[in-house]
Symmetry: C2
Subunit: 283 residues, 2 copies
């Protein structure tokens, strides 16, 4: 049963703030404690009533029944073992975008069972508590990783929480998660960052781009507004998978380049018709 | 003065159909004639009342006061001289995505002055008359090319037409247009096609992608649904500019690859912060 609990959210930014709104709306929390090291974000989170109070990490851990981690994945790897050292029977979950290094960091911890690894597949290119979105996560997928290492009561409560939020649930090993995440999320961010740099580099002497940027351009480049504090550690933690996908992507771009260079209209048409099959996946 | 005229639209697909809706709504047309070689599209255009009637090209040219071309750019280059051969004092404009080859094809034609080269910067990843959108083009930019070769009365009417539709107007030479279009539109389509092929290639043995595809992924890949009949001739006509941008984009991707490969967190952060400057251009 997913009863209301006292919940601490560590990191009240885009993801933590949006989760706070859902926990409140779906009546999952009896009290919402924020932990936030950035004083500007902390003040904003209070002003927007995302959380009831901001407390230091140790106090929050001791007061809370559930602790949700929504911080960059490099800090997550350092902080999760520290939190597990301090908890008694609290429930801990993280909402991070990579899972292998985190799974590795705590796999032998005596309190490992109190932790549930999750990745709700939602985000925007904005960051900070002012970017928090009502109704976020709904009708999206959430991935649970390595659930065989999580205590049954922890898994029950967390699954109930995501069910109330309205997310489709999948389970996979941390390694499989990181591979898929490289393909359906991490590579999109790299192509978008690189496209932004391509255009900014070439158009720097000219204001034409300001006038001409169309909806199609905005669509492919909007993720380039995303925060480096979040994305640098994701790319580095998921290095091997990201490099595999990125190398494949560069090869695919070279196929387009060679067809255009040699004016092979039929082959170019074939490449585009292959790409059109993405209609199977996105409507 | 932009009075109502009898207008023929050659090619009643996404762009021609959306233009038809605007001409009707903004009371720019006293009669709308469609020219459409695809019988399925022709029937659909009539069913949706995008045009009043479908007529053969020659009849449409003779009856119309304004002729608007909205066909793939390879067919445009062949058809525009043929149309100019037949017109008396009609107004002709095209809505195509490339301009240099078209400008070249008619620059010495004795009726060149009756033609106005335009590129309204709007489109979607869909095609055909059923994809026509009400309110399309509004608040977007339209580029006029080589206007010094267009008769004053033609330019007046066409500018008035786009003003009534609500588009910002810019002028530039055909060559400058094609360069900018490569950066703000054509490259986005190539990256999106190549990203779709990257993911479809790697995820073909696995259905995970269906479950996991998020809004960010959809955003970067949605243009991959675009029609090859439209895009192959654009890439080939704009070959030199597209290759320049594509080579630059591959170099930018390699910079990301090298930073990740060598785990250069600070350089990676710099690359992303550079990319973040795209905020100046898109909100």
């Amino acid at each position: 049963m997913t009863d209301r609990k006292k919940i601490a959210i560590v990191g009240v930014g885009l993801i933590g703030g949006s989760m706070a709104l859902q926990l409140h709306e779906k009546k999952l929390s009896s009290r919402l404690i924020g932990v936030e090291t950035d004083p500007v974000h902390a003040a904003k989170a209070l002003e927007l009533e995302l959380v009831d109070e901001i407390l230091p990490l140790e106090t929050a851990i001791d007061l809370a029944e559930v602790i949700i981690l929504a911080i960059p994945v490099d800090r997550m790897v350092n902080l999760l073992p520290v939190i597990l050292n301090r908890v008694k029977d609290q429930i801990i979950l993280d909402l991070g975008s990579t899972k292998s290094q985190l799974a590795e960091a705590v796999k032998h911890h005596e309190k490992r069972g109190r932790y549930c690894a999750t990745h709700p597949m939602w985000g925007t290119e904005y960051s900070g508590p002012a970017s928090a979105v009502k109704g976020a996560f709904e009708n999206k997928a959430v991935i649970f990783c390595n659930t065989e290492q999580t205590d049954a009561d922890v898994l029950d409560w967390v699954k109930g929480m995501f069910r109330k939020i309205g997310m489709r649930q999948l389970e996979m090993e941390a390694g499989a998660h990181d591979l898929h995440a490289a393909y359906v999320s991490h590579i999109s961010h790299i192509t978008s960052f690189a496209l932004a740099n391509t255009v900014l580099q070439k158009e720097k002497e000219d204001n034409a781009i300001f006038e001409l940027a169309s909806a199609g351009f905005e669509s492919t480049v909007r993720l380039a507004k995303s925060n480096p504090s979040m994305w640098v550690p994701i790319f580095l933690q998921n290095k091997e998978n990201v490099l595999d996908v990125l190398n494949e992507h560069i090869e695919q771009l070279k196929r387009f380049r060679d067809c255009i260079q040699e004016e092979k209209a039929d082959e170019l048409k074939n490449l585009i018709e292959e790409a059109n099959k993405i209609r199977r996946i996105i409507r």
